[in-house]
């Protein structure tokens, strides 16, 4: 990718448009190798109650300072819990960045939009850089941008579903109107989904399960990296319009036998 095409979030230049999760890998070494292969700079972690049996090696030690951490508020169902989780993450990790997740339904993990906007507003006021996981709805995305979110992160499809981008027209619409970077979050199943997100105009892709639960996470991570870069280049290059009929690519003059 050329140096002139860089993603800037909250004033920070990110070298990769692929944001990667750290959960669900077969083991820690595969996770580390896959993250390396993905080229991701921003990686997500969760914040959880410590085991009262004692302190074990932290994921942060494992990551060894090579990545910019994005703590999430996954699993939170109230604005209050999400805000406290973000504040605990800031204290534990010394970062004011947070992937804000506010779940409205345990089965689909769909965001609770009302509480999401409220929590985002409050976290921005408290000095956080807020990257909200949200619905693929331009109005919700606009509201989140209006309260000061650094990005919007609409879902492609349900978290962990691998169903790809269920509403491409909606994602494209969000991208065309968003005043902040758009990160396609959730639902990516394979490399073509990631490339498609970038072709639709997304500024970045956040994914986890598509890599970690693939048969070969190291290879899938490399595939995702290539897909995000390829999709971005295609977006910048500008695709040809779709036509209903064929248009020959070879010259029409001088045909043999004409």
């Amino acid at each position: 990718m050329s140096n002139t095409d860089q993603l800037i979030v909250a004033g920070i230049r990110l070298k990769s448009r692929l944001f990667a999760g750290t959960a669900g890998y077969p083991n820690q070494q595969v996770m580390l190798d896959a993250l390396e292969a993905s080229g991701a700079e921003l990686v997500t972690v969760s914040i959880r109650r410590i085991s009262l049996e004692g302190y074990a090696e932290s994921i942060v030690d494992l990551l060894g300072g090579k990545y910019r951490l994005l703590p999430n508020t996954s699993g939170c169902v109230t604005a209050r819990d999400a805000i406290l989780t973000a504040e605990l993450a800031r204290e534990a990790l010394d970062t004011n960045w947070v992937k804000l997740e506010l779940i409205g339904d345990r089965e689909t993990l769909y965001p609770d939009v009302e509480q999401l906007v409220h929590a985002a507003d409050e976290l921005v006021r408290k000095g956080f850089v807020v990257l909200p996981y949200c619905n693929d709805d331009p109005v919700t995305c606009q509201k989140l941008a209006d309260v000061g979110c650094a990005t919007v992160m609409p879902l492609g499809s349900l978290i962990g579903s691998g169903m790809g981008i269920a509403n491409p027209a909606g994602i494209e619409l969000i991208c065309s109107r968003s005043p902040v970077p758009v990160v396609l979050d959730a639902g990516i199943g394979t490399a073509s989904d990631a490339a498609f997100a970038m072709e639709l105009g997304c500024d970045a892709v956040l994914l986890n399960t598509a890599i970690s639960r693939s048969l070969d996470p190291r290879r899938m991570a490399a595939a995702m990296r290539a897909a995000v870069e390829g999709g971005r280049l295609a977006r910048l290059a500008g695709r040809i319009p779709k036509r209903n009929f064929a248009e020959p690519s070879s010259p029409q003059l001088g045909l043999v036998g004409s």
Binding site: G21, T22, A23, G24, Y25, M31, T44, V45, S46, I47, R48, R49, I50, L52, E53, G54, Y55, S58, I59, V60, D61, L69, P71, N72, S74, R80, L84, T85, E87, L88, A89, R90, E91, A92, L93, I159, G160, N208, T209
Partner: protein, 68 residues
């Protein structure tokens, strides 16, 4: 003995500060990447040695884990 709620579990514990609670629970207060909240408010690491716990306090002790 002080009756506390620690990570959602009720416990009777003979400690008076957050730092003492961590030690009593086998957690090194100097360990990196820990955070503590009492009654929904984050207590900064520098305050752990002096932050007094009272009966009924709701304590959360967290750290980062794998996540998506």
């Amino acid at each position: 003995m002080t009756r506390l709620r620690i990570n959602g579990v009720e416990a009777e514990i003979a400690v008076s500060t957050i730092a003492e609670l961590l030690v009593q629970r086998g957690i090194d207060p100097g360990a990196k990447f820990l955070a503590v909240a009492v009654n929904g408010e984050v207590v900064k690491r520098t305050e752990w040695p002096d932050a007094t716990l009272r009966a009924g306090d709701d304590v959360e002790i967290v750290r980062p884990l794998q996540g998506g």
